[in-house]
């Protein structure tokens, strides 16, 4: 962990130079400059869609800017050129109206497919209700009699006070750790019912591929199937007041049997948010990895 921070610190100078070289990706970690592929089929599809459209715009950009810079270098008065007189060409204008239209249709087809898929919340195997509050999240496992609130972890909360004097880099998972994680099973079709208690929030988990607004008085539905166990971190994405930046989301995706055990323990009133032996498995793992 400390090693990583040191490297990041050292990276400042390198990054500045890197920017001058138009941000050569080799200098930077891709996860710091591009969208995550995430851990669901939808997030992968969204990533692919993003890269496809990005590539198309880059190709068009190269064409347009290529022509523009060619013109800037060749067609300048200082080279003694005489300006041409032409001022329109119906044929050319029709081509560059119709051609973009065709490209757009090509983009719209896969986008429509993904959108239709994401909209279908049927056939879910379990449901979790998410409620946004100023400024924390509430989770309720529907029909399981398990519910709890999830707040910014204390060490981050202390460090983030104005002039706290604590270096954020010294706090593990600064601003993206919570006291109680949302524990979810992998390979399960989970429906989320998202709402809010006070103002509008937005529940955003980049690794699931989407965000959805939490609106007081209304319930928004969406779904996911997490494919890999792990700890995933997200944030509130809709401005919700003073501490909008301080209500992170942490999802811990575990195997189904582990999830069942966790759920049973919650129902029995066990220590919240921890695994069977009373320690937080994922955090313990992270500490180990850091050593």
């Amino acid at each position: 962990m400390t090693n990583m921070i040191a490297r990041r610190r050292f990276g400042h100078l390198g990054l500045l130079a890197g920017l001058m070289l138009l941000a050569t990706p080799a200098l930077a970690d891709f996860s710091l400059i591009n969208m995550t592929r995430g851990v669901t089929e939808s997030s992968q599809e969204i990533y692919d869609l993003h890269m496809t459209i990005f590539t198309i715009t880059v190709v068009i950009g190269l064409g347009v800017f290529g022509a523009m810079f060619y013109s800037i270098f060749r067609h300048r008065k200082s080279r003694g050129v005489k300006p041409a007189k032409f001022h329109h060409s119906t044929a050319v204008e029709i081509v560059w109206t119709v051609l973009p239209l065709v490209i757009l249709v090509g983009m719209a087809v896969p986008a429509t497919r993904v959108l239709i898929d994401l909209d279908d919340t049927s056939e879910s195997e379990m449901a979790v209700k998410i409620t946004g509050y100023q400024w924390f999240w509430g989770y309720e496992y529907m029909g399981e009699d398990v519910q709890f609130l999830s707040r910014l972890a204390t060490d981050s909360d202390v460090a983030r006070q104005l002039d706290s004097g604590i270096n954020p880099a010294s706090v593990p998972n600064y601003l993206q750790n919570v006291d109680r994680r949302l524990v979810l099973p992998v390979d399960t079709r989970i429906k989320f019912q998202i709402t809010a208690a006070d103002v509008i929030h937005s529940w955003w988990m980049p690794d699931l591929g989407w965000k959805k607004d939490a609106i007081p008085g209304f319930v928004n539905e969406t779904w996911t199937v997490i494919e890999e166990p792990g700890v995933y971190r997200g944030r509130c994405a809709e401005l919700c007041g003073r501490d909008h930046g301080f209500m992170p989301i942490v999802v811990e995706a575990v195997e189904r049997d582990e999830y069942e055990a966790w759920l049973a323990e919650q129902q029995a009133g066990g220590e919240p948010g921890t695994t069977a032996d009373g320690t937080d498995a994922a955090e313990a793992g992270e500490e180990l990895a850091a050593r």
Partner: protein
């Protein structure tokens, strides 16, 4: 003839000093006031942006409280949109439209005076809210309820200020339309008008259509707060998302209000310095009209994550993607105008070329944002912030700067200092990209917008972005100095200050006399 003589006698009695500016009905004076006011607001809004970038320079909170940070993001947007960009375009319209269509003044000169003088009062109210108990508005410039209803004492003042600014914009638009439709010199048919006039005509219609919608939305906020209505409260049978629909029905045409006159400026400057007529004049007009039409049916692309029905998401995605077609036509036309021209690269041309390049990048990210499923990731992140700053700063603001350099000789009678202009251009262009380009990365990597503090993986690019922000901000002081020098003196400008400049404004002397086209010019 007698009438003319009396007119001149009347003009000679015009007051001097402060009273001249207070009671003026002259389009040039009012245009100058609009432009200087806009420059002042650009610096005020810019100072707020620097507070934001100072806080975001590194993780942790070092400079301001999160609530004050939210006030800064909210006010920065309101000041830049309503105080800097819109008045700058209105100022350009005031100065240039009568000169371009061969009219002696704006059609409604007294209303013109009033629509300007509302602005300082509107902004005095808006900025004073920062000092009220509970601070200024902190719910974002979009003012979404229920959050906006948590604003303190400032709440009704903010709404009143926006009403005042809206009235000013509507009157400005009425004036522009009345001038263009009634006061063109004989022979200047609509399809002979300069593109700046065309784009402003369309913009003015957009403003008249949507400013009242904004007024309606914020009035509903006001009644929800004080008069027991529940337009936007589910508890009383309303819906907070209704506000967003109404707001963005205003808000999307609004972003075209902020860019269409820029298209007109660029379409004026590129032909002048390429010494070649604009490619595809009529397709430019049709493309502008198409964009204006489409702007009314794409609003909900700002709301893909609110939980709209699938059919709604699909409709707004397709409609939004369509905007790429007329916008593409414009970019292609500009490049075709440069093609086989004989270009020189004075400061206005440099800003215009940077506009074409950087605005197009903003257009590309806009196209990406239009793709609804991908927007589920992009929405409300720094990717969006990067996008709209590319279209508004390197788009609208660069176009305004290009226009200021291009017409400054006509306004002041002096050539500006080209060397300083080049410095201003290059520093602005380099730093603005250092400022905004990394914000694409931040957004894609997962940083939401409107947050005062962030987790440490975002530290590097935020630091780069802040360095760019301060560089860009201080580079603008070069412009202030250059403008001051140019007003005070400098090389005398000829009537036609630029070799390739076309249009009626270059037929009158530089500086343009106080009254021009008392008799209409002859249009060839």
């Amino acid at each position: 003839m007698t009438a003319t003589t009396q007119d001149h006698a009347h003009h000679a009695e015009e007051p001097t000093g402060f009273k001249r500016w207070l009671v003026t009905t002259n389009h040039k004076d009012i245009g100058s006031m609009y432009l200087l006011f806009s420059l002042a607001m650009f610096l005020v809004g810019g100072a707020m942006a620097l507070v934001i970038r100072a806080e975001l320079f590194q993780p942790g909170l070092q400079v301001v409280d999160p609530y004050f940070f939210n006030q800064m993001t909210t006010m920065h947007a309101l000041v830049m949109i309503f105080g800097a960009v819109m008045p700058a375009f209105t100022g350009l319209a005031n100065w240039m439209i009568p000169l371009m269509v061969g009219a002696p003044d704006m059609a409604l000169p007294r209303m013109n005076n009033w629509s300007f003088w509302l602005l300082p009062f509107g902004f005095a109210i808006l900025l004073s809210t920062l000092f009220m108990p509970g601070g200024g508005p902190a719910g974002g410039w979009t003012m979404y309820p229920p959050l906006m209803l948590q604003t303190g004492t400032a709440f009704p003042f903010v709404i009143f200020a926006i009403h005042v600014l809206g009235i000013s914009s509507i009157m400005g638009s009425i004036n522009v339309i009345a001038t263009i439709l009634n006061m063109r010199a004989p022979g200047m048919t609509l399809m002979k008008m300069p593109l700046f006039v065309w784009t402003w005509l369309i913009t003015a219609y957009l403003m008249i259509a949507v400013m009242p919608v904004l007024a309606g939305a914020i009035t509903m906020l006001l009644t929800d707060q004080y008069f027991g209505t529940s337009f936007f409260s589910a508890a009383g049978g309303g819906d907070p998302v209704l506000y967003q629909h109404i707001f963005w029905f205003f808000g999307h045409p609004e972003v075209y209000i902020l860019i269409l006159p820029a298209f007109g400026i660029i379409s004026t400057i590129i032909p002048a310095f390429a010494r070649k007529p604009l490619f595809g004049y009529s397709s430019m007009v049709y493309a502008t009209a198409s964009i204006a039409f489409l702007s009314f049916i794409v609003w909900a692309h700002h709301m893909f994550t609110v939980g709209m029905p699938l059919a709604g998401q699909l409709f707004f995605m397709y409609a939004t993607m369509l905007i790429a077609v007329p916008t593409g036509v414009k970019v292609f036309n500009w490049v075709a105008t440069m093609w086989r021209g004989a270009m020189t690269f004075e400061t206005p041309m440099l800003f215009a070329l940077a506009f074409v390049f950087l605005f197009t990048i903003g257009g590309f990210s806009g196209l990406m944002l239009a793709i609804a499923p991908a927007d589920f990731q992009y929405h409300d992140t720094y990717f969006v912030v990067a996008h709209f700053h590319y279209v508004l700063v390197t788009g609208a603001v660069f176009a305004i700067l290009a226009a200021a350099y291009y017409w400054m000789p006509k306004w002041t009678g002096h050539m500006y200092n080209e060397r300083l202009g080049q410095w201003h251009f290059w520093l602005s262009t380099i730093f603005v990209n250092v400022l905004f380009f990394p914000q694409h990365f931040l957004g894609l990597a997962g940083m939401p917008r409107r947050i005062p503090d962030y987790s440490v993986q975002f530290a590097d690019w935020n630091m780069v972005s802040s360095i760019g922000g301060f560089g860009f901000g201080f580079a603008q002081l070069i412009f202030v100095w250059l403008l001051y020098k140019c007003i005070r003196g400098g090389q005398k400008a000829e009537a036609r200050a630029w070799e390739g400049a076309e249009g009626l404004e270059w037929e009158v002397p530089s500086p343009a006399p106080h009254h021009t086209f008392d008799t209409p010019p002859v249009i060839r």
